[in-house]
């Protein structure tokens, strides 16, 4: 991997407390190559979402990214971006799908407007062009463009998550972060969404940072996987190796907590 798209180096994040700090991410480093799907697995609270937030610089106090940390995207340190550069960077280079499909669209604004605001603030498109682009994106995820005037509550959970994915595609980003994108959905919808992401990835060539606690799901979807435990990255390897020859004790434990049928049947 000579030119990684994303290179996270020594990322250390604390939550500042009244008296003591809580180290949520402890000296984590990993790379993601262009077009690669990299998975971060671990139980809830192990710091994987904290990493996702840091890459788009979405954290607010009391979170604090320690100074030795570096997040390089195409060689540029995201942590050094000025506010204007950051605004331009977000979504254009890194887009994000959030955990709760039911809650990641603004409930009081139309789907079309939620495409428009992102298109209008990042491009010089006219209203008509933005509308055309939004329609095109919706078609990608098999939702009729007539529904741009509808509100989020008029869609099912799976459809809402597809709409979020469509919004992610709007600016043709280089990296898409998916923070447990299918946890809130049932298994059938889950599979359909992942399939869709995979197809889109082949078409557009973006990289994916995929975060979940479901190792089985991860192995079939990712190229490489990192296993996190209590803020540290304890193992990192190709997906197959993680499945067949897990190195760290914790990874083995994670596997043994799955019914064997589940893991085998998926591959």
């Amino acid at each position: 991997m000579n030119h990684p798209l994303l290179s996270v180096k020594n990322l250390t994040i604390d939550y500042i407390g009244d008296r003591k700090d809580f180290r949520a991410v402890d000296d984590v480093s990993f790379d993601i190559a262009p077009g690669e799907v990299f998975g971060l697995a671990g139980e809830s609270g192990c710091g994987k979402s904290t990493i996702a937030f840091a890459i788009s610089r979405l954290h607010k106090p009391p979170a604090l990214i320690r100074r030795q940390s570096k997040i390089l995207l195409n060689g540029r340190d995201v942590l050094d971006l000025t506010p204007q550069a950051l605004a331009a960077f977000r979504w254009r280079e890194v887009a994000m799908v959030f955990q709760s499909a039911m809650n990641s669209l603004n409930p009081v604004s139309r789907i079309g407007d939620q495409f428009h605001d992102v298109l209008m603030s990042h491009t010089t498109m006219t209203k008509a062009q933005a509308r055309e682009r939004a329609a095109e994106m919706l078609r990608l995820v098999d939702i009729s463009p007539d529904r741009l005037r509808d509100y989020p509550h008029q869609f099912s959970g799976g459809m809402r998550q597809r709409i979020v994915i469509a919004i992610c595609m709007a600016l043709d980003p280089k990296l898409v972060i998916m923070d447990e994108p299918t946890t809130a959905l049932d298994v059938v919808v889950q599979r359909e969404i992942l399939q869709r992401i995979n197809d889109l990835r082949r078409t557009f060539g973006f990289s994916v940072l995929f975060i979940t606690h479901d190792l089985g799901l991860m192995v079939q979807f990712c190229d490489r996987i990192g296993i996190m435990l209590a803020g540290r990255l304890v193992e990192e390897n190709a997906a197959e190796a993680i499945f067949q020859t897990p190195g760290h004790d914790y990874t083995k434990k994670l596997w043994s907590s799955f019914p064997s049928l589940h893991g085998g049947a998926l591959l």
């Binding site: 979405l58 605004a87 992102v118």
Partner: protein
């Protein structure tokens, strides 16, 4: 539509409840209810006027339910009896004119303080922990903890009596005839300024706190974070993602606040000698003018119910999830 109809039905029931209180209260008091209600009128009124007044309040020969029906009948035909103090002026006329001033004062003060308060709350929540947030929060605690009567008295003392910048009485210069003239309107604004500012000072803090807390509770929502992740400007996320959603619970808490607003407005009017309902009521209490005191409960309840209905409608208009309800 069904939702709004249900609300209307409920409001009708609430209005009847208020009327029922009015009906039973004099009858629950020890002693002769007629004596209680019209004692101060007895000697001064001609017997036939007193008789018609009794009829209005349901004091007819017959069982209680018949009296009750008679009373409800007179209320729903718009007959609230006649004032004893201003006899023979009907209660509706005495209160109706005052109501215009009260609703004007209250309505404008509510709109102003809701707007300013909500804006302050939004900004304070967005800059959580900043000096601005501390000032707004502490200021709001002060404003909400001081009773309206105290605020009014202090304002009238400082600006009305000591500095003499503003008049401390009447809705307009009493030497002017009410007319649609620049001079008259100017006088109304001049006279209304202090009560208006006082009422705004009393109300703004409460709205700011409500909005701030509602904002803080939803700043962690995924859609707000996604708005930030989209690279939209700070202002855009603050207004269209956070504040626009925080407005919904704030508007519904407005419905509960209306009672407080009404109360504050009554008190302010008394202190500023402003000819609204509060002042009429104050005079009526001093004169024990029971028909007017009872009438104000019905008129205030009706005002409150209409205000509640306006809040209901605006809530439905603001929340697309309820679009079907209209």
């Amino acid at each position: 539509m069904a939702f709004l109809f249900r609300r209307l039905g409920f409001y009708l029931a609430a209005f009847v409840a208020a009327a029922t209180i009015n009906f039973f209260l004099p009858r629950l008091m020890p002693g002769d209810p007629v004596q209680i209600m019209f004692s101060s009128a007895g000697a001064e009124l001609p017997p036939e006027s007193l008789q018609s007044l009794k009829l209005t309040f349901g004091f007819v020969d017959g069982p209680l339910w018949q009296q009750y029906i008679t009373y409800l009948g007179s209320i729903f035909t718009g007959d609230l009896g006649r004032s004893i103090k201003y006899f023979p002026a009907p209660v509706t006329a005495v209160l109706g004119q005052a109501l215009v001033w009260t609703v004007g004062l209250m309505g404008i003060a509510t709109v102003i303080s809701f707007t300013i308060g909500s804006l302050l709350g939004v900004l304070a929540a967005w800059r959580r922990g900043s000096a601005f947030d501390v000032i707004v929060s502490v200021g709001a605690i002060f404003a909400t903890s001081v009773p309206a009567v105290v605020t009014s008295l202090i304002v009238v003392f400082v600006f009305g009596f000591t500095l003499g910048w503003f008049p401390s009485g009447y809705a307009a210069d009493p030497r002017l005839d009410p007319a649609f003239s620049l001079q008259y309107i100017g006088s109304v604004l001049y006279h209304g300024f202090l009560p208006m500012v006082t009422l705004c000072a009393v109300l703004t803090g409460g709205f700011a706190v409500t909005m701030r807390n509602n904002m803080i509770n939803l700043l962690g929502e995924d859609y707000v974070v996604m708005g930030r992740a989209k690279g939209l400007s700070d202002h855009h996320v603050m207004i269209w993602y956070a504040a626009r959603n925080a407005l919904l619970p704030t508007v519904s808490s407005l419905a509960i606040a209306i009672g407080t607003i009404l109360g504050g407005s009554l008190v302010t009017e008394v202190v500023f000698n402003y000819p609204g309902l509060g002042n009429i009521l104050y005079q009526a209490i001093l004169a024990r003018d029971y028909p007017v005191i009872q009438g104000q409960l019905l008129i205030m309840t009706a005002t409150m119910l209409i205000a509640n209905f306006i809040v209901d409608v605006s809530y439905v208009l603001l929340d697309p999830r309820l679009k079907g309800a209209l």
